[in-house]
């Protein structure tokens, strides 16, 4: 699972640069994703964390160009390196194109918080899975069926031959989540985007699903992009973490640095605000002041400044901080760490 010292560039699966996704509404423009850069190394798990409204889900939807109107990718590139010199900029593709359809579901699979987002009530599990498999792989019906049952088995569904003919509503929440994962992985994607995959589940079911995702990663070697607000899940699962606030990446580092040496005041505050098992006697919780501002009234300067306890008065309100690189794998967007050479 450890992925230290990977060579930059060579094993980068997905490279996102300057991504901007805006929603043009009557009330104004919501800059849901406002200049996001990060990379997903091959075969690792990267966590995208932040509170509601930070743009983590819109980032994920942008990667598959699934952002619905009035949302639109305004700028930026999302380069998928499918191997060798095979690079394709997803952001430049037409959202309806055949090429993009091949990427969705084949190279990149996606699972959601609510399994019924990607499953239809009207068709059996087997029908939906074989349809997806035959769309992306050149196989006969029987072969697709075998593949589907094999995947259902792989995600730990008991009696997969029988569940193949079940309708989603006949399954429990945890089972549906497994079916969705089986479906997302049935075409052997290189990247699995998981948007709050366990948020709606109970802790014991969550433990099952997290364990399953780790197992499947070892088995199939795909990269996982895990979008969540749960710092516990991030600490357990990820090797690298991207922290987002109001549409921007405020800090990115390996998981140990994020949890033990965070540099952005928001990351620090977020970690201090959560109750931790076994630490309840260490006094009161330290909440972050105020709440996430509404998207129409984005603060000027650094978007976190109204809630920041380390604000540099006179600067943070006006200057929008650039990204500073503290070490090769650790970047932070904060004036406290302004790059003197920048």
């Amino acid at each position: 699972m450890s992925n230290s010292n990977h060579n930059a560039g060579a094993d980068i699966l997905l490279d996102i640069r300057g991504l901007k996704t805006y929603f043009h509404l009557d009330e104004g423009t919501v800059r849901a994703v406002d200049g996001v850069d990060f990379t997903v190394p091959r075969g690792t798990t990267i966590g995208i964390v932040g509170e509601s409204g930070c743009g983590k889900s819109v980032t994920a939807f942008s990667i598959l160009q699934l952002v619905e109107k009035p949302g639109r990718i305004e700028e930026g590139s999302i380069v998928l390196n499918t191997g060798g010199q095979n690079r394709v900029d997803i952001a430049a593709l037409d959202h309806d194109s055949e090429e993009l359809r091949q990427i969705r579901g084949k190279d990149i699979g996606m699972i959601f918080q609510e399994p019924m987002t990607s499953l239809s009530m009207m068709y059996t599990v087997g029908f939906q899975m074989t349809e997806a498999i035959r769309l992306h792989m050149d196989v006969e019906k029987d072969e697709a069926r075998d593949r589907a049952i094999e995947m259902l088995q792989a995600v730990g569904i008991p009696r997969p031959e029988q569940r193949f003919d079940a309708y989603p509503f006949e399954l429990s929440g945890g089972m549906r989540q497994r079916v969705m994962i089986a479906m997302a992985l049935s075409c052997d994607p290189m990247l699995l985007i998981a948007d709050e995959p366990t948020t709606a589940l109970d802790v014991t079911t969550q433990a099952q699903i997290l364990e399953l995702m780790q197992q499947l990663q070892e088995e199939f070697g795909m990269a996982i992009m895990l979008i969540t607000h749960d710092l516990g899940v991030v600490a357990e699962m990820c090797s690298e973490v991207v922290v987002m606030y109001l549409g921007e990446v405020v800090e990115q580092a390996d998981v140990d640095t994020i949890f033990h040496n965070p540099q952005h005041p928001y990351t620090q505050a977020l970690l201090e605000s959560i109750p931790r098992l076994g630490h309840s006697h260490e006094g009161r919780l330290n909440p972050i002041l105020g709440s996430v501002p509404d998207p129409y009234h984005r603060p000027s300067g650094c978007p976190f400044h109204p809630r920041c306890t380390q604000i540099i008065t006179g600067r943070c309100e006006t200057v929008h901080p650039e990204i500073s690189r503290l070490d090769p794998r650790h970047t932070v967007r904060c004036l406290l760490h302004e790059d003197p050479h920048g």
Binding site: Q206, A207, I274, L277, L285, N286, V292
Partner: protein
């Protein structure tokens, strides 16, 4: 600000404020043209616990375990099917909540309030904040006109909202602010007991901490007793003095928070504690991954409901239903094997370095 985060367990010898004994709530499943009741969902099936004045008693469990149904029976939003709920009112008289008629229930309802999970659907979008919070005062004919307004304004200040916001509608507030409104509404009648059902689950982590601190401050300020229904064990450890764990309608373990977390006696409690993801990559725990799903309460397994998923189960577990029994100072457990098992608490689950 620097008060004790977790007040110590209630002084021994105190009379309980609430005594719940063998509480049951069954929902009929109706089928066919005449709506004949074919079977029952035993949502709450024999729940027993006491709540002492001034404490926070948490009820935890996974979805479908009956914790919300139990909470709603306490405030009589549901009519219990069986068992008894004895409540000691302000005058010191013990009243049987489960049998009171609506008329005699009304004065008790002033002392027993509820906070709900979803700050978005539990507030009427067509009422102003003043109407929402002031409504209980009007219903119980306690205040009206400018007095009502003053009391609402005062309450808003105490929950950390500006009184100027009184004329606004719920949509103008964020999730955390709405939860503050819900809390203000629950507290405006100066209750004794507040049942908080997943009161912080729908909130962002940073806001969750604000609300947890607020609930603690208000508890100290107004001498409140909480029944805190939740699924998040980290939150519960932070706020509760005692914890009861429920599984498929039954209580499987009750103990003081520290005792339960460090010295669990029920295998389900052990598994729950191990499943909580720790926000520290150096504490990646060894999860105990339970097989299968929570059983359907309409068709629960035989014997101990947990036995099909229990890694310690023996033959007797499949046939005999364990009763909740004392196993130590203030510690009760419903497991045949409790004495013989050496279960792991939260400290043992974390590899120490």
């Amino acid at each position: 600000m620097a008060d004790t985060a977790t007040p110590s367990a209630p002084a021994a010898g105190k009379e309980p404020l609430l005594r719940v004994e063998d509480l049951r709530k069954y929902f009929p499943i109706r089928q066919g043209f005449f709506g004949r009741s074919v079977t029952q969902v035993r949502a709450v099936d024999g729940v027993t616990f006491d709540v002492f004045p001034g404490e926070t008693m948490a009820v935890v469990g996974e979805s479908g375990c009956g914790k919300t149904t139990a909470g709603r029976c306490l405030v009589r939003a549901f009519e219990p099917t069986g068992g008894s709920i004895l409540y000691r009112n302000r005058d010191g008289d013990e009243v049987a909540l489960d049998t009171l008629d609506n008329k005699s229930l009304k004065p008790v309802r002033r002392e027993l309030r509820m906070i709900f999970q979803d700050p978005f659907s539990s507030l009427n979008p067509r009422m102003t904040v003043m109407d929402i919070i002031g409504d209980p005062l009007r219903v119980h004919s306690i205040a009206s006109g400018s007095e009502l307004e003053d009391r609402v304004a005062d309450m808003l200040l105490r929950v950390g909202l500006r009184p100027e916001y009184m004329r606004r509608y719920p949509h103008a507030f964020s999730g955390g602010q709405r939860q503050r409104i819900g809390i203000a509404k629950a507290l405006i009648l100066s209750p004794q007991l507040v049942v908080a059902d997943e009161a912080v689950s729908a909130l962002d982590v940073s806001v969750q901490a604000q609300i947890l601190n607020l609930l603690q401050d208000l508890q100290a300020e107004f001498d409140l007793t909480y029944v805190f229904i939740a699924h998040d064990l980290s939150v519960v450890e932070y706020i509760a003095n005692r914890v009861s764990v429920m599984y498929v309608g039954k209580m499987v373990e009750t103990a003081a928070t520290d005792e339960l977390y460090h010295n669990p006696k029920h295998p389900y409690t052990e598994a729950l504690l191990s499943a909580v993801p720790r926000p520290d990559p150096r504490e990646r725990s060894q999860r105990i991954v339970l097989e299968g799903d929570v059983p359907d309460p309409a068709h629960p397994p035989s014997g101990c409901y947990f036995h099909p998923r229990c890694r310690y189960a023996q033959d007797m577990c499949a046939t005999e239903t364990p009763e909740l029994r004392p196993i130590g100072e203030g510690h009760e457990v419903a497991c045949h094997l409790a004495e013989d098992l050496d279960l792991r608490g939260i400290t043992d689950l974390v590899p120490r370095d």
